[in-house]
């Protein structure tokens, strides 16, 4: 069976799960205060950031620090519970499927869900940016290419985090602990981000990346300078190791 088929099957399982609302609603909530407070983008001269940059970065920061990781945690619960509820996993594993491929396809779904949410984020950015621009009589929208580029970077930076959450969900069968671990790991990311060892904590990558971008946009605002070493190799290693362990352990209990 081809991998595409696996993905197709996984997508079918998401029917009537209402997960799409859990992805869309926070993105809508995110931009509402940005529209209401759009006049505040003009008070940021001290930081040396332009109003349009500020409008963009505030929204993306709000998304990256909490909602992005939290959505992934909710996604893992969705994937795990749909299999367990009706004993679906038993059925799946009794069919000629490769557990590792099944695991990988579920991980891909998780990535897809985040991807969908980022797409909504961009769409809502343009929508709310247009409204705010009308309100302020000033063009608050950035060049679409820049926006898409930053969104892609944000998305890619979330992949290691997603793989960690997925590994937790695969290894820890008790939802209390897997979900608890997921939620609890989000909170200290702000603290850890400020330490030298931030790169070993994938849950803070998306927020870190956006904060770096904020530093680049705000001339008088001193935050982090992005260094690709040792971040990139560590992030890649974390991702690969998590996916591998998850694939090996997937469905062990049922098999």
């Amino acid at each position: 069976m081809s991998f595409a088929k696996y993905i197709k099957i996984e997508l079918t399982k998401l029917k009537r799960s209402h997960i799409i609302w859990i992805l869309i609603v926070p993105v809508v909530i995110l931009w509402i205060p940005s529209i209401i407070n759009s006049h505040m983008n003009f008070d940021m001269a001290a930081e040396g950031i332009s109003p349009e940059d500020n409008f963009f970065i505030q929204g993306f920061m709000g998304f990256a620090w909490f909602m992005m990781p939290a959505s992934v945690v909710v996604g893992t619960v969705l994937l795990v519970q749909t299999e367990r509820a009706g004993g679906g996993i038993r059925k799946m594993l009794s069919l000629p499927v490769r557990p590792a491929a099944l695991c990988l396809s579920k991980f891909s779904i998780l990535l897809l869900l985040t991807g969908i949410q980022v797409l909504f984020l961009i769409a809502m950015y343009f929508l709310s940016g247009t409204i705010a621009s009308q309100m302020c009589g000033y063009d608050l929208l950035l060049d679409p290419l820049t926006v898409i580029k930053e969104a892609v970077i944000l998305y890619v930076s979330s992949i290691p985090m997603t793989s960690v959450f997925w590994l937790i969900a695969v290894l820890i069968k008790t939802p209390s602990f897997s979900v608890g671990a997921g939620l609890a790991s989000i909170v200290p990311s702000v603290l850890i981000m400020n330490t030298k060892l931030w790169f070993i904590y994938p849950m803070c990558y998306p927020f870190y990346i956006v904060t770096v971008l904020q530093g680049e946009m705000a001339k008088n605002f001193d935050t982090f300078k992005f260094k690709s070493l040792p971040f990139l190799p560590v992030a890649a290693a974390v991702t690969v190791v998590c996916i591998l362990i998850a694939a090996i352990s997937f469905g062990k209990e049922e098999r």
Binding site: I22, I29, V74, Q81, P175, S176, V179
Partner: protein, 240 residues
Amino acid sequence: MSFSIEAKKVTRTGFYPAIILGGIIAAAVPLINIGARPENFVNRDGSTLAVILNANWSMVSMLNVFAVILGACVMWNVEYGERAIEKMRTLPLKMSSIVGLKGILLLTMALVPVILEHLSIVLCGYLWFAPESNFIFDATKNFIFSILMLLPVCGVMTAIASVCRNMWISLGIGVICVFAMTIMGGFDSFAVKIFPFSLPMITFAEAGETWPSYGTASLLETVIISIAAGIIWKLKVKSE
């Protein structure tokens, strides 16, 4: 009696250990945060309690809210998992009393992290600060206030999770509400601050002289939520 039944139902689900563990982690936050760099904190303006809370309470209270969300999800996941709730409905019980007792159980368990956190705050005070004479008294006041502030979120999460067959939906709604709270945090208005998910973030010192307003808001919200939950369940039972 019935309370002990609700308490029994969640055994072996990780409900108790997860909340206790969450409490230990939350209690560790001020110890690690201040312990790692006490020089950053000891000379700050304000009372010992205020300095400790300002540096940690937003994180700690967020963990508390997460514990409440998770606890509510797990309590109801058990009911829906193997259709246990359908058996419950064939017994001479009122659904509203199950919902109410679960809310009380959740609040009772939420006390554990709050107690641990306040012990940790007091410990921080004595380890790295020179606490004022009223430090313990103020910490106690903050402790009681924190519990009061947790009432609505316990109620609202119990109510939400009670009507969600699927755990990811109640969890999703819970985290979206927390998210909305973090986003709205920028608005300095009473109406935003008394949102059930925002109340636990407020400290007694921050409430200051307006603490009775927050207390009243919290109690009022809890009453409204309880009534709403009762009505929702009545309608739900009727519609089936």
